[in-house]
């Protein structure tokens, strides 16, 4: 096996594990904030429905968070196992940022998670709400550090390169942390996390609304409240995300024009450039086939003027071009889903005014279909920005080919296969547990994770029912709720 194959396998493995991982922190970011809002509303209004919804979504949170922890653990070692040369050279800059992420965020989240999940009766309402807020804050702090690191790899600042070793030596930490693409990427990612979770919550709500409709009964208050909250979020964040994405795009045009050229499938730099709706970029022949284009739109979107000049891939040497055939499509899928989600949010506003928010079948079916849309868009966006950084790990400075570890391809291939099998098992089990939870309708006196036992005993009947006998209040039995 050649070195190039080993590097490809290392990239594939890293992309697979980080792609799997990224979903869970994003889910946690959005869900923790949603839970904090629900608990806050409960404390403020004393309405049971908010507590029921809090418990309902808290059960999902414990699964999502646990999967985030175990898949994140892999990441903190994979930089070294797969990218030893990169770690050696960029470690002096990125390592401390990761260290701060663990110290200011991971410990905070994990330290208060136990109280959030199981501590309501032990610490009281207020302290429990505090714990929920701390966990939510932790997810946001964590996102900030990791996006700062990632942005530094895209737009490196505040470093010098040590002669001889090629190491990046930190010169100005402020410039490193607040590098030019960081604020844009942070906002874009935060909104993506909120939007993704809004559509998960909305999708679950829509499903129960549709089910109630089919059964000819009134949906429960909890279902209506959660669908309404999700659609508010979609209506607010959806359009906002389009603006944030546009700003992020302009930032990329300024600092990484070659990435923009690859995303757009443009080969020649020109003014009055069209925007391609479809095409098949051909790296070898330096052209894009089967183009479907909107005249002038490319210049208009990227430069906000019809005559603006957009970059073309031919401006850059062949060995500095990102694979356009990947980012061209991932970018377009992200945009399409983003537009759909924003449109759904706006549509819901209109229906809300008309008073048919909870009954319009088109909205409910669309919301149901779009349940995973946020996460798919998020993954596509991540592919766009990361593959668009190629062929570098630190943009313009350190090549991916010079970042690898001295690990034989056979080892990487074997462990990659194990990762795939393991993650498929873990992912399908986790998803099926989540789906089973979502299939239940949230109801009055909803049980949280601290009352799993009676719930299970109810379904498993004989085997272990004795463990559930005492210690729980009678009302905490979801089996009696429906």
């Amino acid at each position: 096996m050649t070195g190039a194959d080993a590097i490809f396998l290392a990239r594939l493995q890293f992309a697979f594990t980080v792609g799997f991982h990224i979903v869970f922190p994003a889910f946690s970011i959005g869900l923790a904030a949603f839970l904090a809002v629900l608990e806050g509303l409960w404390l403020k209004t004393d309405k049971q429905v908010y507590l029921d919804l809090f418990h309902y979504w808290l059960r999902a949170f414990s699964i999502v968070f646990g999967m985030g922890v175990v898949s994140g653990l892999v990441m903190s070692y994979e930089f070294g196992t797969n990218w030893a040369q990169f770690s050696q050279k960029a470690g002096p800059i990125l390592g401390p940022l990761l260290g701060y992420e663990v110290m200011t965020a991971f410990f905070l989240e994990a330290g208060f998670l136990g109280i959030m999940l199981f501590g309501m009766n032990k610490v009281g309402k207020k302290l429990h709400f505090f714990a929920t807020c701390v966990v939510s804050l932790g997810t946001l702090i964590s996102m900030s550090w990791i996006l700062s690191s990632n942005s530094w790899m895209q737009t490196p600042r505040g470093y010098s390169i040590e002669p001889g070793t090629g190491r990046f030596i930190p010169q100005d930490w402020w410039a490193i942390v607040f590098n030019p693409s960081f604020p844009f990427r942070l906002v874009h990612m935060a909104l993506a996390a909120f939007l993704s979770v809004a559509f998960i919550v909305g999708g679950v709500g829509a499903w129960h609304l549709l089910r109630a409709r089919r059964a000819g009964r009134q949906p429960t208050e909890a279902v209506r409240v959660m669908f309404s909250m999700a659609m508010w979020m979609a209506a607010l964040v959806g359009p906002l995300q389009i603006l944030a994405g546009d700003a992020h795009g302009l930032n990329t045009l300024k600092y990484q024009p070659a990435k923009i050229a690859a995303m757009e499938g443009d080969w020649d730099s020109e003014g009055y450039a069209p925007e391609l709706l479809f095409g098949i970029p051909d790296m070898k022949n330096e052209t894009t086939h089967y183009k479907i284009a909107i005249p002038y739109a490319g210049s208009l979107i990227l430069t906000h003027s019809l005559s603006g000049k957009v970059p073309g891939l031919k401006d850059y040497p062949k060995d500095q071009r990102a694979p356009s055939y990947v980012v061209f499509f991932s970018f377009r899928i992200m945009i399409a889903l983003g537009m759909l989600m924003a449109a759904t949010g706006l549509f819901s506003l209109w229906l809300r005014r008309k008073g048919t928010l909870w009954s319009n079948p088109l909205l409910l079916r669309t919301a149901l279909i779009l349940t995973p849309a946020g996460f798919i868009a998020l993954l596509c966006g991540w592919v766009t920005t990361e593959v668009g950084r190629q062929p570098f790990t630190v943009y313009g400075l350190l090549r991916t080919a010079d970042s690898a570890s001295p690990v034989p391809g056979a080892s990487i291939a074997t462990t990659l296969a194990i990762f795939v099998v393991l993650y498929v098992i873990v992912f399908t089990s986790g998803i099926s547990i989540l789906l089973r939870g979502f299939a239940e309708e949230p109801h009055r006196d909803q049980a949280g994770p601290d009352a799993r036992q009676p719930q299970r005993a109810a379904s498993m009947a004989s085997a272990i029912s004795d463990t559930a006998a005492s210690g729980h209040t009678g009302s905490a039995n979801p089996g009696s709720g429906e």
Binding site: G95, P96, F106, F107, G114, P406, R456
Partner: protein
């Protein structure tokens, strides 16, 4: 780089020392917190009673995420502070590190999944995953340690050994020793936190595992100096012998204390702290052995270090954050203190 040739007052000299101490502290905290957690997992299948299994899980449910976070911290700190060691150790131990990660993933999700299964078979399967994952992760941690102590071949600032260097008698023995030690921590933790039948069973296990651990500590202690001449010198030359001589004495003192506590049934937390004491002593003995190398036999902590600007930047925050983290971690344990039985509220 020879430490004697360095400016002894310069930041480039003392920062790596401070970080070596901090890193060793963090690793020890990880062992303290996740050791009993993994050990409990290993004892899981030895306890056939479902009710007891649920109690066992309940003693760690609110804290396991935090325990595992110390492992993430270890990786991150090594990456930022000793990047050359990070970039050498991980490729050198590629397979055991990844096997450990696989095992930790399985046990981590098994922990959450087992209680959500609707059939007895599915639950049993995840119980096996929890136990097996804990065992394999513990074995691999010991193997990683053993391989590191045996020495990693470096040429050109890069790992130059083979993928299977870790499949050797000494690392494998270390793997067994660490697994045995963690199981002891798990058993003594359960003596502290549970009551009645389960506690009685765990006392029996703690007795067996204590004897096994003593034998293994003795064996590793005798084996290690034979690996390298420098290790031997630590134990045979004056005045270094002064630092190491109290270690075996303290191990025996703790053994007497452990025996009394397991028999006398007095304070229930004594056995756990005796087991921790053994870990502390073994860990210190190991530190004395390999100092000042971080990747024996050729990479010192100074050679492994990132530039002072990186170490200073992270140190500035660590000084405040680490005590804060320990404080709220202690608070979380405090909230969920007390004996756990089947009537306890929360979780299973």
């Amino acid at each position: 780089m020879d430490p004697t040739g360095m400016d002894l007052t310069g930041a480039a000299y003392w920062l790596p020392i401070v970080w070596a101490v901090l890193a060793a502290t963090a690793i020890f905290i990880y062992v303290v917190l996740d050791g009993f957690d993994l050990g409990l997992g290993m004892l899981f299948l030895a306890e056939p009673d479902k009710k007891h299994r649920n109690i066992m899980v309940q003693t760690i449910a609110p804290v396991w995420d935090g325990n595992e976070t110390w492992m993430i911290f270890g990786g991150a700190a090594l990456y930022g502070v000793f990047p050359n060691a990070y970039a050498t150790i991980l490729p050198a131990l590629y397979l055991p590190v990844l096997i450990m990660l696989f095992a930790l993933i399985i046990r981590g999700v098994a922990f959450e999944f087992r209680s959500r299964m609707h059939t007895q078979q599915a639950q049993n399967l995840w119980d096996i995953g929890f136990c097996g994952g804990s065992l394999v992760a513990s074995l691999m941690q010991g193997i990683i340690l053993g391989t590191l102590v045996s020495g990693i071949r470096i040429e050109d600032n890069k790992f130059a050994g083979s993928s299977f260097d870790w499949l050797a008698p000494f690392p494998i023995f270390c793997g067994l020793a660490v697994a045995c030690g963690y199981a002891l921590l798990g058993a003594t933790w359960l003596i502290w936190r549970t009551a009645s039948d389960l506690q009685t069973t765990m006392r029996k296990w703690a007795g067996i595992l204590s004897v096994a651990m003593l034998v293994m500590i003795a064996a590793v202690s005798a084996w290690t100096p034979a690996l390298h001449v420098t290790y031997m010198q630590h134990w045979t030359t004056w005045p270094r012998i002064l630092y190491v001589a109290p270690v075996p004495v303290a191990v025996i003192a703790l053994a007497i204390l452990m025996l009394q506590a397991l028999r006398g049934k007095t304070s229930r937390r004594i056995p756990f702290f005796c087991a921790l004491g053994w870990f502390f002593l073994s860990f210190s003995g190991l530190g004395i052995n390999i100092w000042p190398y971080i990747v024996p036999p050729s990479m010192t902590i100074w050679q492994a270090s990132s530039p002072p600007a990186s170490q200073k930047f992270l140190l500035a925050g660590t000084v405040f954050l680490l005590p804060l983290i320990l404080a709220y971690t202690a608070y979380a344990y405090h909230v969920f203190r007390g004996t756990v039985n089947e009537h306890s509220e929360s979780y299973h």
